[in-house]
Every structure is written in structure tokens, then in C-alpha cells.
Amino acid sequence: MSKIFKKYGTLIALFGIILLFSILKPSVFFTLRNFINITQQISILMIAAIGATFILGVSEFDLSLASTVSFGGVVAAGLMSSGVNWIIAIIISLAFSFIFGVMNGFLVSKLKLPSFVTTLATGTLLGGITFWYSGGTIIFSGIPDDFLIMGQEELLGIPITSLIMFGISFFSWFILSKTIFGRALYSTGGNEVAAKYSGIKVNKVKIIAFATSGVLSGFAGILLASKLGSAHPTAGGGYLMSAYAAAFLGTTLFKEGEANVWGTLVGALIMGIMANGLTILNTPYFLQDIITGIIIVAALILRVSKKA
């Protein structure tokens, strides 16, 4: 019994929360519509958090995530409002996010700069560029309706954002868990020297991880813009902490200490369901923070590290 707790504590916490809200407010919380809602609400966070999962996999940090989310949305929206076709706008925005990620990866791997302060600095830089490009305001005019489909419409009753999230999650899970690249990535994170001695191109692996983080963050920003019909130069601000929180919560699942996609999904779900359930219960805002904090700590304690 206690062994099960140790192994699946985080998952048990997730089901515990679901159970609790279902009992307190079954008519609203425990409905298909609401679960679909929740997947839609976490989708953007989850996509950014998958980027964080790659980064944690190589034992680094990418603090430019928030700036990249904002950047991705602003560039795409800005291009559209200056008349560029929406598909091309998306591609250009993703291309820039990719290049930015590669640059981060280059600085961290080839030049061996510490990722924490480096990405903080490059994130500041990118934030400045985003401000400059947007003039600091919301961009909303000239965004075509076609662009809004992926953020706002449903397909067979399921929001397209949710479908996209599941698609990216599945694909990333495959890459990280089933392919040789995934193994190279985790071994780079586990012991860089040993990985290098085994012939793994650790620099290349790191650059790919940062590029993935860049592209996924940029894409999260684009989706956000599509969802809101507008883009804002600080729209991504809240995603840095929550993306890493989800990914870190996820590390407590399955293999100890390793970031993994399903773990991250559980982490994002815990956070998403907390926000959803507490709002439905009409909990005062400060209590929401207090309860969320307690639940996460409790989930972590439930699981307790195997080292203990």
C-alpha cells in the first residue's frame, strides 16, 4: 500500500482532486463538457510545458520560455495585421522561434554558458524585441477569421486546441521514450561526460532540445493569439513558472527525477483541475492560491522520494 503511494503519489493526488471536486459539485464538475473544457484550458500551458520537458531532460533551464510565448503570438499577429497570409505568418513566427531556440542551445552547449542566466538574458532581449515590434500594445486588427479556427473551434465536439495538444504530446512522448534520440537526450541530462564518452553528440542534442523548446513556446503563443483573437507583448508572462511547475511535478511520476511527457501532462492536469474546480466552487482568489500550494506539496510528500 505505502509502496503504491510512493510510486504513484502524484497520480493518486490527481485522482484524489478529481474525486473531491466530483463529490462537492458533481453536477458541474463531473461532466463530459467540463472535462473537455479542462483539456482545452490546459492545452496552451501543456504545449509550452512539453518544451520545458525537453529542456529538463537535458538538465538545463530555458527561462526565455515566457518571452518566446509572447514573441510567437505577437509576430504572427503582427504579420497578419500587416496583410501577410495567416499560414505564412505562422510559419515565419515559428521559424524565428526556432532560430531563437537554436541560438540559446548554441550558447549553452557550444559556448558552455550556464543556461539559467543565459536564457534569462536572451529572454530579456527577446522581450525587448517583442515590445519594439508591437509598440507595446495589443495587436488585434486585421487578424483573419481563418486563423481563429484552430484556437476557437471544435472538431467532433472536441476543441481543436485540445486535439493539437494531444497530438503534440503523443508525438513528443514517442520521441522521448521510444526513439534513440530520446535516449541520447536523457543520457545527456543524466551524465553529460559519460554520454560524450559513449559517442553521443551532446552539443547537438542540447541544441535540438532548446530549438524544440523555442518552437513549442512560439507555437503556444500563436495558439494563444488564435484563442484570444489578439496578441499582447506580455501575454506569455504567466507560462514560465507554470510550465516548469507542470514538468517538475511530472518528474515525480514514473522514473525518478526524469522529466517525461505523461508526467508533465499529469502535472498540467493537476494545476488545470485545481483552477477549474476552485473557480466552480466559487472559492475566493486568495484561498485558491493557498489550496493549490498545499495540494501540490501534499502530492509531493505523498510520493516521497525513494532515496529516503
Partner: protein, 277 residues
């Protein structure tokens, strides 16, 4: 120099942009400083511009009570301090602002009239911002006085990312109140959460039963009103007029004239589908 902690907010941005433009027309050299909501850093920047010896300081938004010492420093250095949508305290030349109490009173009474004095409301607010807090106070007071208005849910909007935050919250609230008539209206302390709430309402297809109002009159909100979305009204703060008044006052001071009034109010207009051109 213009000092602001909130440049990323749409409204502040409108004000600052207009100020920059008017200032440049006058041939002034205008610098804008933004600290992204960090008041400690803003205090530091006050000191820097004072040391730099600018000719005038305009603080855009924020509570001057936090910068008593810096204002005193500016006075000592002979630099006049103006407020743009801030507050007024001793040591400043004047503050030009929309009256937040009035803004709220205008929109709240519009909303309650529209509801004919009864209905179920959702409230979006953010008491950490002094101006926005004033709107909330007036709303609460009026709401208190109308017995048949009931608040079914309220949400403290997270910044940054207020639109998305309000959208998610509204989605959840809608689910918690699923029947027509459970919610009649949404009152938002500014336009961004109003837009977020609107998105959630449209998504749920309940735009015909719920009306949304905001404050500020930002362009996106105005466009939504015009399009006939469920945002029905906002109160437009005339930031351009505000910037004009500030510019005039600054000009006066530069010209050696006295500024007599300590507080100037810029006009505010209730915007509905009827009066948006």
C-alpha cells in the same frame, strides 16, 4: 521623462503614446521608462532621471504615495512633477486623470439600468491596482444599494495575461451556472477581462442571455461593441485628451505660468453601439 510601471497595459500605452506624440510636436525630448509593474525599480528610475536633470517628470499611472521621497527629491532639484492618471499628493504640480469613481459609477449605473435593477452578476476585478480598486469600491457601493442584484461569482484577474485568465475563469463559471438566467451580466473592472469573458460566453453560445461591460474604452473592446458582440458598453477614458491637458500644463510651467488647479479630470464617455462611429 515619463515614468510608468504599467506600459504593457493597453490604456497606459495609449496615454503614453499620445504624450510622446504631443511632446515631440512641442519639440521636447521625451523618454519613456517602464518597469513592468515593479515599483521598487520604478523608484530607482525616478532617482536616475532626477540625477540626469530632466526638465519635467510625468508619472503615468501608479500611486504617487509610493514615491513621496522621490517627489521631494525632484522638488529639491527644481523639477516639476506631473501625474498622468496617477494620484495627487503634495509636491506635484498637478494630476490629470479620469475620475475612476466616475468611470465606475457611469458604467455600473448603465448596467443596472439595463438590467432594470435585478439580475445575477459576475465580477472581474484586480484590487492590487489603485485605480482599478476605486472602480471596484464604487461598484460594490452601488451593488450594495440595489437589493435585487446578486453576485453569483467573482474572480480576481491575474496579470500578466488578463484576457486568457478571465476567459478560463468565465468558462468555468459558465459551467457552474449552466442554465439561461443563472447569469445575466458580467461587470469587469477594465476592458481586458471583459474581452476574455466575452470570448468564453461566445464559445458557450450564450451571448444572447449575458451582457458584458468594461471600463477604459480600449480599441479592441470598442470594435467588439461595434460588431455587436455581447460586450455592450464601456466607458472610454479619453487618454488623448488627457495627454493634451498634461502637455498644456507642462507648457504652462515651462513658460513660467502658474498652474492653478491641482487635479484635472479628462472627460469620459459611455460608449455603446450607438455612439461608436
Amino acid at each position: 521623462a515619463i515614468l510608468t510601471p504599467y506600459l504593457a497595459s493597453v490604456t497606459t500605452n495609449t496615454l503614453i503614446k499620445a504624450l510622446e506624440e504631443f511632446g515631440e510636436n512641442e519639440g521636447w525630448n521625451v523618454t519613456v521608462i517602464d518597469t513592468k509593474g515593479d515599483f521598487g525599480a520604478l523608484a530607482n528610475r525616478w532617482e536616475d532621471v532626477i540625477a540626469q536633470g530632466v526638465d519635467a517628470i510625468i508619472m503615468g499611472m501608479g500611486d504617487p504615495n509610493q514615491f513621496k521621497k522621490q517627489i521631494a527629491m525632484a522638488n529639491e532639484a527644481g523639477i516639476p512633477v506631473f501625474g498622468g492618471d496617477a494620484g495627487y499628493i503634495d509636491g506635484m504640480v498637478c494630476n490629470v486623470t479620469s475620475n475612476n469613481y466616475t468611470l465606475s459609477a457611469q458604467i455600473t449605473s448603465y448596467l443596472f439600468d439595463k438590467l432594470e435593477g435585478q439580475g445575477k452578476l459576475v465580477k472581474f476585478y484586480h484590487s492590487a491596482h489603485p485605480g482599478v480598486r476605486k472602480r471596484e469600491i464604487v461598484f460594490d457601493a452601488i451593488e450594495e444599494s440595489v437589493p435585487d442584484i446578486e453576485i453569483v461569482a467573482e474572480h480576481f484577474v491575474q496579470v500578466p495575461g488578463p484576457i486568457e485568465d478571465a476567459r478560463k475563469a468565465m468558462q468555468n463559471i459558465l459551467l457552474a451556472n449552466p442554465n439561461p438566467g443563472d447569469i445575466n451580466a458580467v461587470w469587469a473592472a477594465w476592458d481586458e477581462p471583459a474581452i476574455g469573458a466575452m470570448l468564453a460566453i461566445m464559445e458557450a453560445g450564450r451571448q444572447d442571455e449575458i451582457i458584458v461591460v468594461g471600463i477604459d474604452g480600449n480599441e479592441q473592446a470598442l470594435e467588439m461593441i461595434k460588431k455587436g458582440s455581447c460586450i455592450k458598453a464601456t466607458v472610454k477614458q479619453d487618454f488623448v485628451a488627457m495627454a493634451q491637458i498634461i502637455t498644456d500644463q507642462v507648457k504652462k510651467v515651462f513658460g513660467g505660468e502658474e498652474v492653478t488647479d491641482k487635479i484635472f479630470y479628462a472627460p469620459s464617455i459611455l460608449m455603446t453601439k450607438d455612439n461608436i462611429e
